[in-house]
């Protein structure tokens, strides 16, 4: 605090040469708001090479701890260079402040630790990525164990939580997934129609829309939307519970957090995602139909006739069959990242972001693996 606020003229210094040395005259208010630039001016002072130095502070009319610190570090730097420094004219109150700052600054240590080098950071990030992957696998294993235990004792399954999750992750996702897949169908039909029309193969628009939606786009699109909608919510919820020690509280009252928080989400998503995908299949094909009749004159009747020939049951089922795996990925990654939150609001936000990025990444990777596997088995 400023011991005197009457005049807040900025802090000033002036070096006056004297015989055998120099005198530094300090003036003004040495308080935090008026010492800007003082540091530079002090650094720029060319101290005489020899002789005794005097710092005259009699014209300093206000001082706080920040001002005292600036004075103290100047004196200390000079003394460290072996110079003799005499402080003169300090008011008693400022003297006491300087004394306090000198005592305490002995305890104040060098601030920032050295920033690690590039190699160190790469190594650290690699270890971290591997550890995270290992953690996810361990989490999967733990979830499987708890699932096995729950199946052995179906009473322990939390049906109410499952129903609740079915509603929030499934039913409430209907509008957005429906709209987006409808638009996706429209886009594909629109892009495809122009190409097909050149060959007069308009009717194959049904093959294009039906197969691409059912096999790839609709499962992928739905999983990605659910990852963004529900996976992130899982991470944020569990992360916040972790930070507020609710998870620990659950443990102490003998509830397995995995059983209460993870299994219902996972089971609900395994049920909801295939159903949502069936729905988005329908909406996507419907979007394609609307576009086909508007753009290339393939009516609804002709479209559906052609669709029956184009789509086999297997191409429909390969699309749906992938979705339980996607569901497990989204639920597991979301919950796992939630459990990784530590300590702060900041970390909850970070883990939520990581959960969405990671689950979308893994969904797409697993989709690619499915494609390879299906083509091996000629499905």
């Amino acid at each position: 605090m400023a011991l005197s606020r009457a005049s807040e003229s900025p802090a000033a210094v002036q070096l006056v040469p004297r015989e055998a040395g120099a005198e530094l005259r300090c003036a003004g208010a040495w308080v935090v708001h008026s010492i800007a630039g003082l540091e530079r001016r002090l650094d720029a002072i060319e101290w005489p090479a020899a002789g005794s130095l005097v710092i005259d502070a009699s014209a300093v009319d206000a001082m706080d701890t920040s001002g005292a610190w600036v004075l103290q570090r100047t004196v200390r730097a000079l003394r460290a260079r072996g110079r003799e420094v005499e402080l003169r004219g300090m008011r008693p109150a400022f003297e006491a402040l300087l004394q306090l700052v000198t005592e305490r600054s002995a305890a104040a240590a060098p601030a920032a630790p050295q920033a690690p080098g590039a190699l160190f950071r790469i190594g650290g990030a690699t270890v971290e990525a591997l550890r995270s992957a290992l953690g996810l696998v361990a989490f999967l294993g733990e979830a499987a164990l708890v699932l096995g235990r729950s199946l052995a004792q179906p009473r322990r399954i939390r049906w109410r939580a499952i129903l609740h999750n079915l509603q929030s992750a499934g039913y409430e996702a209907l509008p957005i997934t429906g709209l987006l897949s409808f638009l996706m169908g429209v886009v594909i039909a629109y892009q495809g129609a122009e190409q097909l029309a050149r060959f007069g193969a308009n009717i194959y628009i049904a093959d294009l829309v039906g197969l691409s939606m059912a096999r790839e786009l609709s499962p992928l699109l739905t999983a990605i939307i659910v990852a963004g909608r529900s996976g992130s919510a899982y991470a944020a919820q569990i992360g916040t519970m972790k930070v507020t020690e609710e998870i620990d509280a659950l443990r102490t009252i003998g509830v397995v957090p995995m059983e209460l928080l993870v299994l219902p989400k996972m089971l609900a998503l395994v049920i909801a995602l295939p159903l949502l995908t069936v729905y988005t299949d329908v909406m996507g094909v419907f979007g394609g139909m609307v576009m086909a009749s508007a753009q290339v004159g393939v009516g609804f009747g002709a479209f559906i006739d052609r669709l029956e020939h184009a789509m086999t049951l297997s191409s429909y089922l390969t699309g749906i069959g992938k979705t339980p795996v996607f569901a497990v990925i989204v639920a597991l990654v979301g919950c796992y990242q939630g459990f990784q939150a530590t300590g702060s609001a900041d970390s909850v936000g970070r883990q939520t972001t990581v959960s969405v990025v990671q689950s979308i990444f893994l969904v797409i990777v697993s989709d690619a693996l499915f494609s390879i596997a299906f083509s091996r088995f000629h499905l």
Binding site: M1, V32, A93
Partner: protein
């Protein structure tokens, strides 16, 4: 400083509250509350939970408005000030919140330095040095500077919050429950620290507390709140002689008596 601040007379109160009324819906929180905090004293507000102490503090630091009345800080009316108009005042006082309210994404040093970065044009190195000095002033070890709030114990977090409140060398310090949630040893460490800071930096401190030990050890004057009013203001000795039943209950309950005996013994 840009905004003009009218100079204060020597003994004018730092905080002056007059005829303050606060209601939340039908619930009356304050009814004609008046008090004054003198320069250079440690002024404590006490009272049962939910009696409106913290609300009074929040109204004083312009976080929420009362229904009517007047609150003058440094001689200036603060009720109804916008954040923009309150800024020059806020730069002259420091606030420590009950749970510290340290920014969890910043280290302790960055938490303190942030205030300086925001309000001064000092160089980066000097800011770090001053921040480290503030941290040292509150008695934290130097290695606490690089830690995040989540890595600190409750007592250390309070000290770090105090360091942030001291960042701009305020004239006036508001402390909300400075010892709540601390073990007796850490709490008495905070007692000593508050006393020490007041004496060495010449601060005026207004604090809200439940802690009777803290009151006996640090407070110069105490206001007891209850029934939406101020039941009594005075030194601890004066209040402990009060005849008011609620004040007597407060000071002569089993815990109050123990704290008082402790205080006598020390004398």
């Amino acid at each position: 400083m840009s905004a003009p601040i009218e100079p204060m007379q020597g003994s004018a109160p730092m905080v002056e509250i007059r005829d303050l009324n606060t209601r939340f819906g039908a619930a009356v929180v304050h009814e004609n509350v008046s008090l004054a905090v003198r320069p250079g004293e440690i002024f404590a507000l006490v009272g049962a939970s939910g009696c409106g102490k913290s609300t009074l503090l929040r109204e004083t630091i312009v976080l929420q408005p009362p229904q009517s009345g007047s609150i003058r800080v440094f001689g200036l009316e603060v009720i109804g000030l916008s954040d923009r108009d309150a800024l020059p005042l806020r730069r002259r006082w420091g606030v420590m919140f009950e749970r510290g309210a340290l920014f969890s994404s910043l280290t302790v040093l960055e938490n303190v330095g942030m205030v300086l970065r925001e309000h001064t044009q000092l160089g980066e190195r000097l800011i770090d040095e001053i921040a480290a000095l503030k941290v040292a002033l509150t008695g934290l070890p130097p290695d606490a500077c690089a830690k995040y709030p989540s890595e600190l114990s409750g007592g250390m977090r309070k000290r770090a919050a105090l360091a942030r409140a001291l960042a701009l060398d305020p004239e006036l310090l508001f402390l909300d429950e400075p010892t709540a949630g601390l073990d007796p040893l850490s709490a008495s460490g905070i007692d000593v620290l508050i006393r020490h800071l007041k004496e060495s930096l010449g601060l005026t401190i207004m604090l809200v507390t439940h802690d009777l030990d803290l009151l006996w050890r640090t407070a110069d004057r105490v206001a007891v709140m209850g029934e939406s009013r101020i039941l009594g203001i005075g030194t601890m000795e004066e209040l402990s002689r009060s005849e008011h039943p609620l004040i007597r209950e407060y000071f002569y309950g089993p815990r109050g008596r123990a704290a008082r005996e402790q205080a006598w013994k020390r004398k």
